[in-house]
Symmetry: C2
Subunit: 163 residues, 2 copies
DNA sequence: TATTGTTATACTCTATAACTATA
DNA sequence: TATAGTTATAGAGTATAACAATA
């Protein structure tokens, strides 16, 4: 057990006003609960990564560049579902912070091959540690044994977007 | 079986570029898969509701006003996690479309009690039908017997936001 | 003083169209 | 012609601060 039994924190005042509202079927809808859960999880992510000033999309990009050195922007964007126009700005930021760099790809001078700088690689190691703690918090909420089934169902739902 | 065995549709070209990318641990992260699933589900929602020009937040607001006639804006916002300043614009839109109306609440003249118009009530009946079809599509993706466990886990994750 | 609704504003994320340089 | 990256821009969704009316 990692969760302390009963924190007697003050109630959040919004809950008082919301308490009397009948939510109808919303709490049993997949989309509604998915959205509420995603917002809460991203909030926890952002709190966890505030000290290193990294957002969820930046985390994904840095990890994928580390794992696939020389990755091209188009492939990266396709893998993460980020439009290439938006990826430009994101990578501009990482480059300006000295975390990643673009080099002209050998063979196709339209493409940019992406690499981490040493500072970027060092940061990614730190990010993985922060992320492990964040993820651990989430797993404890649902129960470690249920994690795999959750992921499975989420992938099934996400497949709706790939057709 | 509702899913046809093999649609020989053309592959989405992004998949080709993404195929060679190693996604590292991302596909096993709760936050990452949650986000991808939520985007796909909202896309399906928006496609389903495009003909009636209703967004997810509007759906929630209309359903809750129907279920809780005379609901105050503050309570509505608290129930749905919408800031009161943003709720103003949302309800302005519904009011201008003749779907909802604000009346000064008896007892507290600061508050506005919310009601559906007849047109609003008629629309909500239609929305519930559209939503049932949308939800059915999602349930089939995960398997009807797993739905309850998914909702349970999502609520557990969402509880992270309420502290 | 505190709360409800409002206005104004800003920031993030996502989406589209048009341009360039290469292929 | 088509593709990779870029630029500019626009639209959601979300966030905060300040104000008027009311409690």
């Amino acid at each position: 057990m990692t969760v302390p039994s009963v924190p007697d924190l003050p109630e959040i005042d919004d809950d008082v006003a919301a308490a009397s509202v009948d939510l109808d079927h919303l709490p049993s809808l997949i989309g509604y609960t998915l959205r509420r859960a995603q917002l809460a999880v991203f909030h926890d992510f952002n709190r966890s990564f505030a000290e290193v000033d990294i957002r969820p999309a930046q985390y994904g990009v840095l990890v994928l560049i580390e794992r696939n050195p020389g990755l091209k922007q188009s492939a990266l964007g396709a893998a993460l579902g980020i439009k290439r126009s938006n990826l430009v700005v994101l990578i501009d930021g990482l480059e300006q912070r000295g975390l990643a760099r673009r080099t002209t790809a050998a063979g196709d001078r339209r493409s940019h091959a992406l690499y981490l700088t040493d500072a970027g690689a060092a940061l990614v190691r730190k990010l993985r540690v922060i992320n492990a703690a964040h993820e651990q918090r989430l797993v404890e909420l649902i129960g470690a044994d249920r994690r795999e089934r959750l992921i499975e169902m989420l992938h099934a739902l996400a497949s709706l977007g790939r057709r």
